[in-house]
Amino acid sequence: MKYLDEYRNPAKVKSLLREIESIVTRNWVIMEICGGQTHAFLHHGLDAMLPPQIELVHGPGCPVCVTPLEQIDKAIAIASHPDVIFTSYGDMLRVPGSSKDLFAVRAAGGDVRVVYSPLETIHIAEVNPDKQVVFFAIGFETTAPANAMAVLQAKNKNIKNFSVLVSHVRVPPAMEAMLSSKLNRVQAFLAAGHVCAVMGFHEYPPIAEKYHVPIVVTGFEPIDLLNGLLAAIKQLEAGEAVAENQYQRAVKFEGNESAQRVIRSVFESVDRKWRGIGVVSQSGWGLNPAFAEFDAEKRCDVENIFTQESPLCIAGEILQGLKKPLQCVAFGKQCTQQTPLGAPMVSAEGACAAYYKYHRDVVYG
């Protein structure tokens, strides 16, 4: 298939691996930000083909994983209401709240629907005028434009029974939070290509300079990932630290400006709690005052729900790259894909789920 097969070419993979091997002189810790990249590494078995000096740590770039528990509990409270149709991207249904997940809400009679685009929710609201239709607007900069567009359309069409439970997060503040931590081990980043397709990468040069860390905008196919790694390792070996773009077929420096305009018109920067990391200043988006009427938290009176994590789950350390899934005592035992303790095991993009799916044999021998 065009645009895919050429980026999965085995001969090219081999030659890039050889090139990486030939320039590596010491150990490096590199974080791929996005859960999609983590899965691609493991799905293709690429992680095991890298030279031993390269340690990959898996970043917090999985929207399902970092959505805080209390937002899940709020979603469950809203979705359980008999007058509500609750819509969500599919992965969110399996994330455990403190007592159950959205699947259980659906099984108990709640109207919980998977949508592929937030705009579908607008249609659902139009054809169900007697119901409150609530969309779970989560994700990074990637989903933000479409989610914002749904709110804009609702306003333009004067749809009164539509609202959003917002839990948007942004990548650059999380990177800075990690880099500022005393425990930080990350020496270079593969930045998330999809996020940069929307936002560009003009936010990265100041971070690269301030923390002296190479940041390479990277795609999701094996060749993309290897090109990203190669660029990062070249910088590390040369003692350089700049932001560069290895995903030029999708990413421009300034990004997608019309998408950014849509985001800015609906959302404003807010402090946001990350599951396992805590509150990161100005790291998310919330509805700006002009769109406050679409805030499901206010409409459904769930603003005062506060909850805590399972003490066994080390999602926080996983999401910050401090520990690997295989270092967790609950991994593959109390915590499996059928009985996830934390979000990284739930999401298709979560690091624990990737290890469980592709590398469980390491634990079981």
Partner: protein, 350 residues
């Protein structure tokens, strides 16, 4: 003594998905297996040692018969390449064929929702007649129930079937042997993606058709051509789930080669877009076979000459016994585990 404070305390014990049935229990993957092992088999399965095969075997007067049942629920009822009627016939015919039986007769039970148009029901029944004719099987008995509007989604069909197993045939998920060669009868994932694309809330269109088909003639041709140890039709849960089941039943290690998996470009593209893996997408007219190594090429040749085996391919082999595992050589030369579908298949966020 200080009082224990339960405020904000969350129990570290994992949450069992629910104490009620969820859609994931019907996905054909791990949750379905859990339901079977925890509830059905302990109560009802004592006399069903082959409950994990597609059909059970019963012995009567020295003759072995295969018996099976399958309920069919699909939305929409009509999808590109088929409908619930064809599905109901082929599903049961194929379950009989997967242990090498020659199907004899079928029964069918209809659950109809009040308000269902006769015209629609007529179309479904005609389609059943045609599929039964193609399979060379007759429908011997039937039953109809009507439920109140809202108590069922238009139309559910259950079919049960009986077939005869010829002497010398011994096909079961538990019979995989070391060095067996693994074949699939054609492209994987066609049915699941065709049905998905027919759903109204999906923003993409394809010309893809479901592969729903009766495989009994293909199976008979294969049995004539070589020694078949295992057959399975990878329906819900897809090829991956079938392979993991077989690896467990036979206690063998399987290695498949990603590059040899036949996948239509349209299926591949839809899967890339939605974050699905074709290995987990349902098929309704495909089988996976474990064949004695010596006979594999001959069986493959015969398959390729049949209507439903044109795109058959060798995809892997059994590489060891004593450890149940499915591994895949990826297209770029890496290796990884292949697991069952855990629950409901969920599209990813971005």
């Amino acid at each position: 003594m200080a009082e224990f404070d339960f405020e904000g305390y969350t129990c570290p014990v994992p949450i069992r998905p629910t104490d009620t049935v969820t859609l994931g229990h019907g996905s054909g993957g791990t949750l379905s297996r859990d339901l079977l092992n925890r509830l059905f088999l302990p109560e009802l399965g004592k006399a069903a040692p082959r409950a994990l095969d597609d059909s059970a075997v019963i012995l009567m007067d020295g003759q072995r018969y295969a018996i099976t049942t399958d309920s069919h629920v699909v939305s929409p009822l009509f999808f590109p390449g088929g409908d619930i009627g064809r599905l109901a016939i082929c599903g049961t015919v194929n379950d009989l064929a997967m242990i090498g039986a020659t199907p004899i007769a079928l029964t069918c039970g209809f659950v109809l929702e009040e308000g269902l148009p006769f015209e629609l029901l007529q179309c479904v029944v005609v389609s059943m007649k045609e599929a039964a004719h193609e399979a060379g099987i007759y429908i011997a008995a039937g039953d109809t129930k009507v439920v109140q509007k809202g108590s069922a989604d238009k139309l559910f069909i259950n079919t049960s079937g009986i077939g005869k197993i010829a002497d010398g045939i011994n096909i079961s998920g538990a019979n995989a042997k070391d060095d067996d060669v693994i074949l699939v009868s054609g492209t994987i994932g066609d049915h699941g993606i065709a049905v998905l694309s027919a759903r109204e809330n999906f923003g993409f269109e394809t010309k893809l058709e479901s592969d729903v088909a009766p495989l009994n003639h293909l199976v008979q041709a294969m049995i004539q051509a070589g020694e078949i140890h295992v057959l399975r039709d990878p329906t819900r849960g897809g090829l991956a789930t079938s392979l993991v089941e077989i690896a467990e039943q036979s206690n063998v290690t399987i290695e498949i080669d990603e590059q040899t998996l036949p996948v239509k470009p349209a299926v591949k593209a839809a899967c890339e877009m939605l974050g699905f893996d074709p290995l987990y997408v349902a098929n309704e007219g495909k089988l996976v076979a474990f064949v004695k190594e010596y006979d594999a090429d001959k069986v493959l040749d015969v398959m390729k000459k049949t209507k439903y085996g044109e795109d058959a391919a060798i995809i892997g082999k059994v590489i060891g016994i004593g450890k149940s595992q499915v591994r895949m050589r990826t297209s770029i030369g890496g290796t990884r585990l292949v697991d069952m579908l855990p629950g409901e298949m969920l599209p990813r966020i971005c």
